[in-house]
């Protein structure tokens, strides 16, 4: 009996999900900007995977440095030569210093940028969601204390705080990833708390409580699933933001211990010394590559918000 009931519930849930996801896609594709955003995001994800799956087709890779080289070269055989732009630019988009080809390096960078940004946002959003939902639902002194804690993190602008935390954790790439998890959750917590506060006063919550549901169960079963959609929107915008912070911290030289790590900001560091000689492509091309991705994911996030936030839906 009990087993049948859960099975029925599961079927019903699947059904609702299937119906909703169809409507969801239709709504998303209605907006030209959101569609463009989705296409750009998917293309970048595929490009990122392309390098992870078929690295051998995109250039020679030195295992110790993770750097991409033109065939027949390695880090020892590559003196710091000036960037060139005549290597069949449709494929390589020119090279940056030490004859590092730009296009394969950008693809190699993409998998790190996207992979780590997704991981960071997932962890940050998860912590923020739990923290905010509990804080908003329990209210009172718990809420006061928890919000004071988030206020501390929000009292320093993101980039200086990320620099400080990265520095003190050890300034390697992985330390930066931890640092960004550490500093990115409070904005999610704020959002989740606001939503959770407004959910608390709804009558179905009262009904659940009077039916004997405990506070913890209320948070887990009723608050968190309903807070998910705004968090999801914020997370999609957050991926773009984190990728930007990555590039910025690498460019500023905060991250150490990975001199040849493929990363878009790092790639631009290689190009910067040549800038005075009118060598524009090592900076302009990775920059545009990054900007197109951020525009895409922001458009996608805005589209998601229009669909998932019924208050804004027209």
């Amino acid at each position: 009996m009990n087993v049948d009931l859960t099975r029925e519930k599961k079927v019903a849930r699947q059904h609702v999900f299937a119906r909703n996801s169809g409507a969801f896609m239709r709504n998303l594709l209605k907006s030209g900007a959101a569609t463009a955003g989705l296409v750009i995001t998917v293309v970048y994800l595929i490009l990122g995977l392309l390098d992870a799956v078929y690295p051998q087709y995109l250039g020679v890779r030195n295992d110790h440095t993770m750097l991409v080289f033109l065939p027949g070269q390695s880090i020892s055989s590559a003196p710091p030569t000036a960037p060139v732009f005549n290597q069949g630019w449709w494929y390589y988009f020119g090279t940056t210093t030490s004859r590092i080809p730009i296009f394969p390096s950008m693809l190699a960078a993409l998998q790190y940028d996207l992979g780590y940004a997704l991981l960071i946002v997932l962890v940050g959003a998860g912590i923020g969601l739990l923290f905010g939902a509990v804080s908003g639902y329990f209210g009172g002194k718990v809420d006061e204390l928890m919000m004071r804690i988030t206020d501390i993190f929000l009292s320093v602008p993101l980039i200086p705080l990320a620099i400080a935390v990265t520095f003190f954790l050890g300034a390697t790439f992985v330390d930066m990833a931890y640092a960004l998890m550490f500093v990115s959750w409070p904005s999610f917590a704020r959002l989740a708390r606001g939503e959770s506060l407004s959910l608390k006063s709804l009558s179905y919550m009262e009904a659940a409580t009077s039916a004997g549901s405990s506070k913890v169960r209320n948070v887990w079963v009723h608050v968190i699933p309903n807070v998910l959609s705004p968090i999801f929107v914020q997370a999609s915008l957050g991926v773009g933001r984190i990728v930007l912070v990555f590039a910025t911290l690498f460019f500023l030289g905060i991250v150490r211990g990975a001199p040849y790590m493929p990363e878009l900001g790092k790639l631009m560091v290689f190009g910067e010394p040549w800038l005075v000689n009118g060598v524009w492509w090592p900076i302009v091309i990775p920059g545009l590559f990054l900007i197109i991705f951020i525009v895409g994911i922001n458009l996608f996030g805005d589209g998601l918000r229009d669909i998932l936030d019924p208050k804004l839906r027209r």
Binding site: S155, V156, P160, I163, V165, L169, M268, L299
Partner: protein, 349 residues
């Protein structure tokens, strides 16, 4: 406000204690001093309370901060106490922030009003594209693009039109330096009374120097303002569109108030109220942008100090600048709350 600052201090303390005690103390050693290094280290352990348990160490730490003792840094670009470094670098940042904020507000309010009164127009679409790029373009990349454009080769402007770095050109300084440009104790170049070269030059009537200082700020200000403007413009626009559909606007139009007046006093005034809260967030973005912009343009402010400190392993430099950024943000939030209460009589604290 106070609990936030206290919490921030605690956070920085905890981060700082991830560094071994011996390194924390070694930053207090002055190699030029005649006192033997072992004795200096011993003194540093006592001064920082490093021989005590962590909670007591935190009390020592708070005591040091309240006395303005943020530690020392010893590098090629600055050697001395962190608090005096901050006093030296901070006015330049303040100068940039004041100008960027002013430029943003002066452009965003009229333009936002114009666009907000015409949703769906060409100007509205243009502003949408602008704001999308504003959120997507990395600050450092924009700075580099400006450097390419105004550097050699592209626009072919002489380099002195918009210099690519620094606060003032050496050639623009008056040849026997007047007393207001010299620090009375150290004799270094430092303007008084505000320590901001542009304003001091204006106060003392040296307009050539003021112009030179301003010209040095133009590219950093453009870099800083771009993203800021994108956010604020979009926000004012949506506020305008929201309040345009309110009943009081209909009433005003129905009783024959001229359209200009409707837009100015009925729509814009109400749209400005939420925009004020967003300014607090924009200040956070601005301070984040300052870190990047100052590094790109070699503008000696707090941002450059914090990046340089992080690159050259100056623990106390990183902590000090982060604390100052926190204090600026907290004070800015307080000011925004007060302005908010003044603008909207419904809100009283």
């Amino acid at each position: 406000m106070i609990p936030t600052l206290f919490g921030l201090t605690l956070l920085m303390f905890l981060l700082e204690r991830a560094i071994p005690n011996s390194i924390l103390a070694s930053q207090y050693v002055n190699p030029q001093s005649t006192v033997p290094i072992t004795e200096q280290l011993h003194n540093a352990y006592i001064q920082l309370g490093l021989n005590n348990p962590a909670p007591i160490q935190f009390l020592y730490y708070l005591n040091d901060i309240f006395h303005g003792n943020l530690g020392y840094m010893n590098t090629s670009y600055y050697s001395g106490s962190v608090s005096s470094a901050i006093l030296q670098y901070f006015p330049n940042t303040a100068q940039l922030v004041i100008f960027s904020m002013a430029v943003t507000l002066v452009i965003a309010i009229p333009l936002g009003t114009y666009i907000g009164a015409r949703p769906g127009s060409v100007a509205d679409h243009a502003s949408r594209v602008f704001s999308i790029t504003g959120f997507a373009i990395p600050t450092f990349w924009l700075g580099l693009m400006l450097q390419i454009a105004f550097g050699k080769g592209v626009l072919n402007l002489p380099i002195s039109v918009f210099p690519l770095g620094g606060v003032v050109s050496n050639s623009a300084l008056p040849s026997p330096l007047p007393s207001w440009l010299l620090n009375p104790t150290s004799g270094a170049l430092s303007s008084s009374p505000t320590h901001m070269v542009f304003f001091d030059a204006m106060l003392h009537g040296d307009f050539a120097l003021a112009e030179n200082a301003f010209v040095h700020m133009v590219l950093p200000i453009i870099t800083l303002t771009y993203a800021l403007l994108a956010g604020l413009l979009r926000f004012i626009r949506s506020g305008m569109v929201d309040s345009a559909s309110k009943e009081y606007v209909k009433t005003a139009r129905a009783k024959g108030v001229p359209e200009r007046m409707v837009i100015r006093t009925h729509i814009r005034k109400n749209a400005m109220i939420p925009a004020v809260t967003v300014i607090a967030l924009l200040i956070a973005d601005l301070l984040g942008g300052v870190v990047v912009t100052e590094t790109i343009f070699g503008y000696p402010g707090m941002g450059l100090l914090s990046v340089n400190a992080a690159i050259t392993d100056e623990i106390y430099g990183v902590v000090g600048t982060t604390l100052v950024f926190g204090v600026i943000m907290v004070v800015a939030n307080l000011v925004v709350d007060v302005v908010y209460a003044l603008l909207d009589p419904r809100i009283r604290y």
